[in-house]
């Protein structure tokens, strides 16, 4: 490989400055991933505090005001600190290697967009120690609870959101520019791996909606400090306007968190089925149309705010229809597995769990789309169950699957398969114990975001809490597997999975510091 010689006389700098000043996509990718793992643990411990309080009826561990801070921070940290940076990290590592580019197109911007994040989240987390406590208005921060009635720390929260937003936009620009300009000459759009495709579309979504979020929090800022009344009926504003703006950002955001996951699963399932992805063109087409249509369904999060009947029907129909292209993806993955030659290494286990559990989350999503029924589901634990099924075995499992899948390529060693499988099974059992009973308590009438509940919900909540702790502590195994793998183990071959296809496997393991300094030719096999 051309890049090996390059490594020898132009390796990474030594010491701390390597990480602060690096413009190398692999270094930055690693930093994103480590950052998101850290955030995953911080957000996770907040979830465990929540579950600890909810073991039994009555207030035991925390007071309601702190409980609200926990639910808020848990959501914000997990969405903006764990899931999104993890996907950006994976994109940083893999997109250049998958398209045969030497690095990202804008390396210094890349460095900058990462280093914004630690500051943004330090600021966000520091609000926990401020007078009045951290933001306590839920991760959806509905006005006026988040404006007139918010704790003083809301200003720090707004600034942190601005910074995280800037970081996301810069990252997205970088990915778009890279994919459009840096592909190896033979890598036409139609040959791009699905992970690259889904990320390209995600990046456009990010650029479209992050400014909406920034605008919304700025309106909050002026409402709080400069006497405007965007969200205050007393001054001619409207609290519901906030929700429209938020969900106009929020619904595409949901796809930002799941489209890269679709890409990852579409890489992993064919590898371990030893069979090309079924319906690749359909997948690409469906992804792009989901991106456009995702802008037309936002108010299905607001069925109970008193939308006019016309609006209610419109958003119900649009939401039901958008579920079809998503369903088609699931059919495609199953058809890829059908008549393959399957093996079940850890990445494949996570991918299969993704397909099954994400589908369950999709079904509850379809149920939520039926507006009259949503009057009963809305703001109950049924919704909590739904989006955790989409985000935990969806987004989070796909990130874990990707980590196991590419870890040998990153470190040059195979991870411990046995520990990996233990991690999978503990997570799988833990998360189902945690989130499945939430469907039941939700349907039985338990509202979300309450620190204490009536007696009929006690048993399922205890099961949820036990599952939550199992899932939480299982993640320590994940760290152990990664650390062990970085330290050493069985040497990984360049193509460490039998069925793996794609340019990233044509470089040695570990991938040299600089890859594809001259554009590669595509491997012979049918692509993708």
């Amino acid at each position: 490989m051309t890049s090996i010689s390059a490594t020898e006389h132009h390796g990474p700098e030594k010491g701390l400055m390597r990480w602060i000043l690096t413009t190398n996509h692999k270094d930055i990718g690693s930093m994103y991933l480590i950052f998101s793992l850290l955030m995953f643990f911080i957000g996770g411990s907040m979830a465990l505090i929540i579950r600890m309080e909810l073991v039994e009826p009555g207030l035991q561990v925390v007071q309601p005001e702190f409980f609200n801070q926990m639910t808020t921070m848990h959501g914000l940290i997990m969405v903006f600190g764990a899931v999104m940076p993890a996907f950006v990290g994976l994109a940083n590592w893999m997109v250049p290697m998958m398209i045969g580019a030497p690095d990202m197109a804008l390396p210094r911007l890349n460095n900058f967009s990462f280093w914004i994040l630690p500051f943004a989240f330090t600021m966000m987390l520091s609000s926990l120690f401020m007078d009045g406590g951290a933001p306590n208005f839920g991760w959806t921060f509905y006005a006026p609870l988040s404006t007139t009635y918010a704790p003083p720390s809301v200003t720090f929260f707004i600034f942190a959101m601005h910074m995280a937003g800037v970081s996301s936009i810069l990252g997205a620009i970088n990915i778009i520019v890279t994919v459009m300009n840096m592909r190896a000459p033979a890598m036409t759009y139609m040959k791009m791996p699905l992970f690259v495709w889904t990320w390209l579309i995600t990046a456009f979504l990010l650029i479209a909606v992050m400014p909406v979020l920034a605008g919304t929090v700025t309106m909050m800022l002026t409402d709080i400090h400069f006497g405007t009344s965007f969200f205050d009926a007393g001054g001619g504003g409207d609290p519901v306007l906030f929700q429209h703006l938020f969900w106009f950002f929020g619904h595409p955001e949901v796809y930002i968190m799941i489209l890269p996951a679709f890409g990852i699963i579409s890489q992993i399932v064919p590898t371990f089925s030893r069979k090309p992805l079924f319906g690749y063109p359909s997948m690409v087409y469906a992804t792009s149309s989901i991106a456009l249509l995702s802008f037309t369904v936002w108010a299905h999060h607001m069925f109970t705010v008193g939308l006019p009947l016309v609006g209610e029907l419109f958003f119900m129909y649009a939401t039901m229809l958008i579920s079809v292209p998503t369903g088609v993806k699931v059919f495609n993955w199953v058809a890829t597995m059908f008549r393959g030659s399957l093996t079940f290494e850890t990445p494949m286990l996570f991918a299969i769990a993704f397909i099954v559990l994400f589908t369950i989350g999709g079904f509850s999503g379809l149920m939520l789309a039926i507006s009259p029924a949503d009057f009963q589901y809305h703001d109950t634990y049924f919704v909590v169950a739904h989006f955790h099924y989409v985000l935990v075995p969806g987004a989070v499992f796909s990130i874990m699957a990707a980590t196991y899948y590419w870890l040998p390529k990153w470190t040059g060693y195979m991870y411990d398969e046995f520990l990996g499988k233990c991690h999978f099974w503990c997570s799988f059992i833990g998360l189902n114990l945690t989130f499945f009973p939430m469907h039941f308590v939700g349907l039985a009438g338990m509202p979300r975001r309450i620190p204490d509940y009536s007696l009929q919900f006690a048993d399922f909540n205890m099961i949820s809490s036990m599952g939550g702790f199992l899932f939480g502590f299982a993640q320590i195994l994940f760290v152990i597997v990664i650390v062990k793998c970085v330290q050493g183990g069985k040497k990984a071959k360049a193509v460490c999975w039998e069925g793996a296809k794609g340019l990233e496997w044509s470089v040695p393991s570990p991938a040299p510091y600089h890859t594809f300094e001259t554009p590669p030719n595509l491997p012979d096999e049918k692509y993708p």
Binding site: P64, N68, P239, V305, G306, T336, I370, H378, L470
Partner: protein, 374 residues
Amino acid sequence: MLAKIVASVFLFVITFLPRLSLADWAVNMTEGVTDVSRSVYSLHMQIFWICVAIAVVVFSVMLWSIIHHRKSAGAKAAQFHENTTIELLWTIIPIFILIAMAVPATATLIDMYDTKESDIDIQVTGYQWKWQYQYLSEDLAFFSNLATPKEQISNLAVKNANYLLEVDEPLVIPIGKKVRFLLTSNDVIHSWWVPAFAVKKDAIPGFINEAWTQVEEVGIYRGQCAELCGKDHGFMPIVVKAVPYEDYLVWVSDKKTIIAEQEAAAARVWTMAELMEQGEKVYQTNCAACHQPNGEGISPAFPALKGSVIATQDQQAHIDIVLNGKAGTAMQAYAAQLNAVDLAAVITYERNAWGNNTGDLIAPQYIQSLLKDK
């Protein structure tokens, strides 16, 4: 090792089973007691069974592949990767299923939105953290507070059967009548939800939302606020008592008499001991959520009253803030919420409890005169 972990999880579950078996294992949505709630329930069940059917098909194919097409069983991978006919088929069929689903959903929704020709109109106003009910044609209004004692919440007493789902003054509505709710809020967004009626509607400050119900069975129906509304979001339940129409009429006139008597009590002279006793009750119901039962508050959102300037010095300022609230904070204007006796009692209590011993006695007559001036 794997087996060990699985086994220990099971052991853990089994250890807890004895207490779990006492359970009320409610796993599904209530059918409710109105036409609307029943059609919502049937929509819910239809879409649920459609999902189950699709899941069975998809997961069976998957399971079949996992069992029969594994490499260790000698499977050789086929290389097919597209089939437009089958792809079209599995796209078109779900679309038709969804259209079939949309028809009854639309009908139900249109029904839910038909708030015309109501028999009784009730304005429901959300406050942090209680509900106010105003019977618009009756000149009758009252607040409905959580009735569960603090000791039960902090695990110092055995919990009631209706723990957190009980209020001091339930909403009373007649059966067989179309009741329209006009929902709004005094501070942040709340959401008024009674599962048995399938009514959930946000109460938004500055705007009025409508919903309606027609209950068929006598009974007590319980719900909760569904929209995060601050600290005590989990502690503002809704209780609706549905009674026959004649009983409803009797209740209305009784209720009016009681309220009139309470207001008349402002005219008589109250002793310090009486006011302190009454004041403590009022304080626990209306003030303790923020300023805490011990008067120490939660800094900085909810200031302390114990030893504070407001509760120990200028009397007029104290009365003013209780009556008129403080703009831009959670402090509400209680002139609109409590009667003169309760206001006088609670101010007296605040000025004399927790070592605030000012000795000030606020006379209900004086508060009454202030309220009249308004």
